[in-house]
């Protein structure tokens, strides 16, 4: 960074406002060279370097791999893997062939899973936050309970769900079949079509507290007198929610929904812990699907091509979403 002599630096300790005549001494001296580059950029360098190594380099490497025939024969020296041009991409999007067909199926499963999960998380989060706005006895306890799933280690939580969903000894079947008699037979939850339900339930359970937390924080910023004024004007609770709470939450919701979407679409932990290496077809999320194509089938080139396609899709969705939502934000202070 900048080299300044020790005696020129400001004395340590709490800073007081600059008195007259001190202003010059207290200013950090910046060499002219640094100033010509621009100090802000210099200060950004460490963050940029980390970003480069943590995200950009692997991403570029992944894109590079998508154009290679990277199988087990070449992983030791992947520079030597033959170039295949767009073959990996063609294989991934040839929907008449099994690889492409399976990827497309997985994509639709992921879309459905994401839509349902994000919607449920958002509804639950907003409902719980609004409900806990009023001060009543036991509010702190409820808050703590609601946030529990978010605080638990993900592996332990999901593996517990996996045990609960077991057909023969699981708690879920024990309740719905043995005690309530809702089903004629013990359904499977981790196999076949029901696996989608199990996956969605666990994903909502572990994600909605985040929505709750964010909305709860946003609600603190809504001035109380708005509600009081509307109450005097005769507004009921529903009108208050519709005309005060939701509009005030809009900027927060826009970011919240985007984050929930990205997290859910890329969720790897939940299906992996629930189903292991091979998820049932009904719950074959794209993250698991790509993992399987790469790490289980040892076909890293095709896996990378699928990843690149996924990245492009998510970038596109995010860009469109931000464009749509920023229109409504113009003129607002967010």
């Amino acid at each position: 960074m900048t080299a300044t002599a020790a005696h020129e630096q400001a004395p340590p300790g709490p800073s007081k406002g600059p008195g007259p005549g001190q202003r010059k001494q207290r200013r950090l001296r910046i060499p002219a060279k640094a100033r010509s580059i621009g100090l802000p950029y210099l200060l950004l360098v460490p963050a940029l370097l980390f970003e480069l190594f943590v995200h950009v380099v692997p991403m570029v490497v992944g894109i590079f791999m998508a154009f290679k025939e990277l199988t087990q024969f070449y992983i030791r020296d992947w520079g030597a893997a033959p170039w295949t041009g767009f073959d990996n991409f063609k294989l991934a999007v040839d929907f008449n062939q099994p690889v492409g067909k399976a990827l497309l199926h997985s994509f639709w499963v992921t879309c459905a899973f994401t839509a349902i999960t994000v919607l449920c998380c958002w509804l639950l989060g907003v409902a719980a936050a609004v409900f806990l706005q009023e001060n009543f006895k036991g509010r702190g306890l409820l808050r703590a309970i609601f946030l529990t799933p978010y605080a638990l280690p993900i592996y332990a939580a999901v593996i517990t769900w996996a045990f609960m969903f077991q057909r023969d000894n699981g708690m879920v079947n024990h309740i719905i079949h043995d005690q309530l008699g809702l089903t004629d037979d013990r359904p499977f939850w981790l196999l076949g079509d029901n696996s989608f339900v199990a996956l969605t339930v666990v994903a909502v359970w572990k994600t909605w507290p985040f929505a709750f937390l964010i909305v709860m924080a946003a609600l603190q910023n809504i001035p109380k007198d708005l509600y009081e004024a509307s109450a005097i004007d005769g507004a009921g609770i529903w009108q208050q929610i519709r005309r005060i709470t939701l509009p005030a939450l809009r900027p927060v919701n826009q970011v919240l929904v985007l984050v929930l979407f990205l997290w859910t679409f890329n969720d790897f932990n939940t299906p992996f812990i629930l189903f292991g290496d091979s998820a049932p077809e009904a719950a074959d999320l794209i993250s698991i699907h790509i993992y399987q194509s790469s790490f289980v089938s040892w076909n890293f080139g095709t896996g990378s091509a699928m990843s690149v396609l996924l990245l492009l899709f998510l970038l596109l969705v995010t860009a469109v979403y931000l464009m749509l939502t920023s229109r409504g934000r113009k003129g607002e202070n967010v």
Binding site: V57, P58, V61, M65, Q72, L191, S307
Partner: protein, 437 residues
């Protein structure tokens, strides 16, 4: 630079959601060096009841090795579920251990990566020669036309364990020798919440092991001589169908077994819920569940007719663990010494006794410990009637694709959907199309 690439590898693996890829490329030439002759790193597979137990068992033995040679061994016990991925990451980055254990069925797949030291005549001579080992164990160390990629360490095979009390209660007098007898006995037992046979439907490797043996009994292989998949041959389809039909048609396996993947079968067996399991070495687990050796019997896995033999009367795959050396080791001599130590007669006896497996080293097999009722069956099966899984580079993908197909068929059977020749063939066709070209 290599370190940087290795770091990139680790990061890449972590950021799976963005880029599913592993990178690196420590391409070292030839067969290792002796730059650091005083140390070795060793990845052991988890063989015992827990990682901690394994650490205890092996640390004691490694101390002996250090005393003999002055070489310090850094030990890491790797859980089964992670081992293959760890080996792949080590291969890609060139940052692996010197010596490691691998599942013997992965030998050909890992051989194809070129990361493992080939055991040519010279390297075998350094550990006391190839002829010390049992032939069947050597058959699962890599492709037939190449120098082996690994050395046998612990051998196993399948046997049929049966619950004596449940047999007596159901009036079954003798353990079954053929599949027809097994189905008949199973039908007698499968009543009132009790079941004849167990399966681990969610465990892909288990599915493969049994499908492979049924395949052999139908005269079918899952790969042709050129290493191309032949999953949809009549024999292969019939084999898979026969296995799944034990639940779908014969109804001697509980539907709940379709989702078993954590050895719940053994618990059911110990709790008198299931009368028979096909397993590799279950004695120590049964003991942990409170069963006495007198509570169960052990016989060879059934065959279509006659007695277990080779060819159509194969009744087990050659199961077990091999020990391998990374080609880019910095301590080649030390690694060879270590493999020699681990395959020495004394260590073989001790370790295989501890883990309930069979020594692949001939001299060690003579120990009376391997002549107990259960180990005797496992040993004789291994020597006389076991075949190695396909020694092809795509073996690991075969386990995934066909294993998953069978898992889906179990799910069909459990849900009461029909399992027909055409539905089996459809699943296997999909599996075959997913194989790398």
């Amino acid at each position: 630079m290599r370190r940087l690439r290795a770091a990139a590898t680790a990061v890449t693996v972590v950021t799976l959601a963005v880029t599913a890829s592993g990178c690196g490329g420590g391409s070292s030439a030839g067969g290792g060096s002796n730059n650091s002759p005083r140390t070795l790193t060793y990845w052991a597979s988890n063989q015992g009841p827990s990682i901690e137990a394994d650490k205890k068992i092996l640390t004691k033995e490694l101390a002996k090795f250090t005393q003999q040679t002055g070489i310090k061994v850094k030990l890491e016990v790797v859980p089964w579920a992670d081992l293959l991925n760890r080996v792949l990451a080590a291969t890609a980055s060139g940052e692996g251990p010197d010596v490691l254990n691998i599942g013997n069925s992965w030998s050909s797949s890992l051989q194809a990566t070129g990361a493992l030291l080939p055991w040519d005549a010279k390297n075998y001579k350094a550990i006391g020669g190839k002829d010390r080992f049992v032939e069947t164990a050597l058959s699962a160390t890599g492709a037939e036309d190449k120098d082996p990629a690994a050395v046998p360490l612990y051998s196993l095979s399948y046997a049929l364990y049966y619950n004596k009390k449940m047999f007596a209660d159901a009036g079954v007098s003798a353990p079954p020798k053929t599949w027809d007898e097994l189905v008949a006995a199973g039908k007698k037992i499968s009543k009132g919440g009790k079941w004849g046979l167990a399966a681990e439907g969610g465990n892909l490797s288990e599915n493969i092991h049994h499908a492979f043996v049924f395949g052999k009994q139908h005269g079918a292989d899952f790969f042709d001589a050129a290493g191309k998949p032949t999953f949809t041959s009549d024999g292969a389809v019939a084999a898979v169908k026969q296995y799944v039909d034990l639940m779908a048609k014969d109804k001697i396996i509980a539907p709940g077994n379709a989702e078993y993947a954590q050895n719940q079968s053994l618990q059911d067996f110990a709790n008198n819920k299931t009368a028979m399991v096909l397993w590799q070495a279950a004695a120590s687990t049964f003991k942990a569940h409170g069963m006495k050796p007198s509570d169960y019997g052990v016989v060879p896995v059934p065959v279509p007719s006659g007695t277990p033999d080779t060819g159509k009367n194969t009744n087990s795959m050659v199961a077990g663990i091999n020990i391998a050396v990374f080609k880019n080791t910095q301590n080649l001599k030390g690694a060879q010494k270590f493999v020699k130590f681990m395959t020495s007669e004394d260590e073989q006896k001790l370790l295989n006794k501890t883990y309930g497996s069979i020594p692949p080293v001939k001299d060690a097999q003579q120990d009376p410990a391997f002549d107990q009722p259960d180990t005797k069956v496992l040993r004789e099966t291994l020597v006389n009637s076991a075949s190695p899984l396909p020694n092809v580079p795509n073996e690991s993908q075969f386990e995934t694709t066909v294993g998953t197909a069978i898992k889906e068929l179990w799910a069909d059977a459990a849900a009461g959907r029909a399992v027909t020749t055409s539905s089996v063939k459809a699943r296997l066709t999909k599996a075959q199309q997913q194989m790398p070209k």
